[in-house]
């Protein structure tokens, strides 16, 4: 009798656990879908960070039917550390982008970033050369690590975080432009427009680094953030990129490309292909393809230059060797 009871209780507990796991798996993980039938991507050739970049970028932006008139635009570059090398999005490109959006009629352009490791944002801006760009311009910089924050329910539940405090400067803007530096990344494989959005999470709440997101899962946190704060446009700095042990200690790689896109997943997939990496093997890009944008090349329309093949794949840490495309 006792054995029967034990067996019954064991079976019941097993059934509860199995049902719970099944319910957890079946429960929807995202409550938005930003995928459109087609996405536009432009790969622009640009060999250096010269003054010519502004006209090139403006011509590139005109390939998209962007209406930014009277809109407030937040440019979110990737400004990480006061280190030498192609660690940060180049300030010449950031300044050019700011002026282009103003020329296209934006009412306000703000550059916003919350560096993930370095607490002294001014030190990063000095090292990145952005102070020079900001001087005398109509463009303001907002330290997203210390801006006023509001609590926001997440529109995807991959990380289990449910809600985050996010900066008002980002939440109140009409348009978010992610401006990543094209780099390999020692935790995420690559850091492109989606991963770049880690920088909107305020350090004053989550610290330096924003370690709670790492414990909740880097890929999962990226998906939750990008579902909640959609990226409207991407300008990726792949002119001088970084390969190897990125995002801080890697080597410069002259890719000579800027990638513009109206879809962050299409942008990241294209950047990864330019890097000679397979985007479907990067977990957050693959999962983002379900609801944040288009991953499939057939749904990505190239405007401007034809999609070039990389001369050789980007060097990656051995742990990420599976990312390298077989055909490359």
């Amino acid at each position: 009798m006792t054995n029967d009871r034990r067996r019954f209780l064991g079976a019941a507990a097993g059934a509860v656990v199995t049902t719970g796991a099944a319910v957890h798996q079946l429960r929807p993980k995202h409550f938005v879908n930003y995928r459109r039938p087609r996405s536009l991507v432009a790969v622009l050739t640009c060999d250096s960070y010269s003054e010519k970049i502004e006209e090139l970028l403006l011509d590139g932006l005109k390939l998209f039917s962007l209406d930014v008139r009277e809109k407030s635009v937040v440019l979110k570059p990737n400004l990480v550390e006061d280190l030498p090398g192609p660690v940060n999005t180049n300030p010449v490109l950031i300044g050019a982008a700011a002026r282009c959006f103003l020329r296209l009629g934006a009412s306000r352009v703000v550059i916003g970033e919350g560096p993930g490791h370095q607490r002294d944002t001014e030190l990063v801006l000095d090292a990145a050369g952005l102070q020079h760009v900001l001087r005398g311009s109509r463009v303001q910089f907002v330290d997203l690590n210390r801006d006023e924050v509001l609590t926001v329910r997440l529109k995807a539940h991959y990380s289990g975080l449910r809600e985050l405090w996010l900066p008002r400067a980002v939440l109140s803007s009409d348009m978010i432009v992610s401006m990543p530096k094209v780099k390999t990344h020692h935790w995420a494989g690559v850091t492109l427009s989606l991963k770049n959005m880690f920088g909107i999470v305020p350090g004053m709440k989550y610290g330096w680094p924003k370690n709670l997101l790492h414990w909740a899962g880097i890929h999962e946190s990226i998906l939750d953030i990008c579902a909640t704060v959609p990226i409207h446009f991407v300008i990726a700095d792949g002119i001088t990129a970084m390969e190897g042990n990125g995002p801080l200690q890697g080597s410069p790689r002259d890719l000579g490309k800027m990638v513009l896109a109206d879809d962050p997943v299409a942008a990241d997939a294209t950047c990864a292909r330019l890097m000679g990496l397979e985007p479907t093997r990067v977990k957050h890009i693959r999962m983002a393809g379900d609801f944040l944008g288009n991953l499939d090349e057939r749904a990505i329309e190239m405007v401007g230059d034809r999609m070039p093949e990389p001369s050789r794949p980007f060097a990656v840490l051995p742990v990420f060797s599976y990312l390298v495309r077989r055909s490359s």
């Binding site: 280190l83 490791h117 370095q118 607490r119 002294d120 001014e122 030190l123 000095d126 330290d143 210390r146 801006d147 006023e148 924050v149 609590t151 405090w165 008002r168 020692h186 004053m204 709440k205 989550y206 610290g207 330096w208 680094p209 370690n211 709670l212 790492h214 414990w215 042990n245 801080l248 200690q249 840490l317 742990v319």
Partner: protein
């Protein structure tokens, strides 16, 4: 206080919110970090502002003894260490300090749990660190990092200088060992990752300065010497106000030359009006007053 520091302190005082706190950059959202640093920067010179700030701090302490990062946040975090340092500096007589100490002693980095210690010792060894040496996280649920650990060590050392419990002693020791474990290979500290995938990462100015403040009364080890030397050499290169200010505050404690750095800081800060970040402005006031007041992060032996 010289005229530059007086003028900057007055600007800081004018930015105080009606209820006694300071926001980071002009909003109405009180930041505990900005409030603590501002209260310390104005202490003994702007008495009304300081008194209002201290009353705000005491009133905003949570029932569990901790402080959140900002007003409206429902979770205590690393700012508790800064609040404890502030209340100790002004010799606050309420029981707020005792409750803050108890909160700090109840917190640990997530790797302090046996499961995560086991994971970081066996499976996940990409970052070189000893998970047995844990400190304090920025916020509950995260791992230990250098700056929150260093401020917690300073706060506990300052508050318990006259009578230290075994628990306080143990956590101070563990915190000091954690800082030693996380030091960068050739000196200094960054956020807390010294070597990743076998590659040494470079130090940060502020993390190094704050970590050295936590170690000021410890034996001067090789890593401490190397770190002070690194900070001293780096300080002459930087114009960023917050980092330069932390350099001055730390080099003063280690009896290194800082007067020239103070002159340079005064030149960079100007009248202070261009510095939007109140925590930075307050740190600059502390640095400009360094040597003319009781150092708020000094640990008595």
């Amino acid at each position: 206080m010289d005229t530059t520091a007086c003028g900057v302190a007055r600007i800081l005082a004018n930015r105080q919110l009606a209820w006694g706190g300071w926001s980071f950059t002009g909003s109405q959202q009180t930041s505990i970090e900005a409030t603590c640093l501002s209260a310390l920067g104005l202490a003994w010179h702007e008495e009304a502002s300081t008194a209002l700030a201290i009353r705000y701090l005491v009133d905003s302490q949570r029932a569990d003894g901790g402080w959140p990062a900002f007003a409206g946040d429902q979770e205590a975090c690393w700012t508790t260490s800064l609040a404890l340092c502030t209340l100790t500096a002004v010799n606050d007589a309420s029981d707020a300090r005792e409750r803050a100490l108890n909160w700090l002693l109840s917190q640990r980095g997530k790797e302090g749990h046996w499961f995560w210690r086991w994971k970081f010792k066996t499976v996940d060894r990409n970052v070189r660190f000893n998970p047995d040496k844990y400190g304090w996280p920025w916020c509950p649920g995260a791992g230990s990092w250098v700056i929150p650990t260093a401020f917690s060590v300073v706060a506990i050392k300052q508050f318990s200088v006259c009578s230290r419990s075994d628990e306080s002693e143990k956590r101070i020791q563990l915190g000091v060992e954690m800082l030693a474990d996380r030091a960068c290979v050739s000196g200094g500290w960054n956020s807390g990752n010294s070597v990743v995938y076998g590659v040494p990462l470079p130090p940060h100015v502020e993390a190094t300065a704050v970590a050295l403040l936590a170690l000021q009364d410890e034996p001067r080890s090789k890593i401490v010497h190397a770190s002070v030397n690194w900070l001293e050499s780096r300080a002459v290169e930087i114009d960023a106000v917050s980092s330069l200010s932390w350099c001055i505050l730390t080099l003063f404690v280690y009896q290194r030359r800082f007067e020239e750095l103070k002159r340079r800081l005064a030149a960079v800060v100007g009248d202070g009006s261009a510095i939007r970040n109140n925590a930075t402005l307050a740190t600059a006031v502390l640095a400009l007053r360094c040597g003319e007041m009781i150092h708020p992060f000094m640990v008595l032996q």
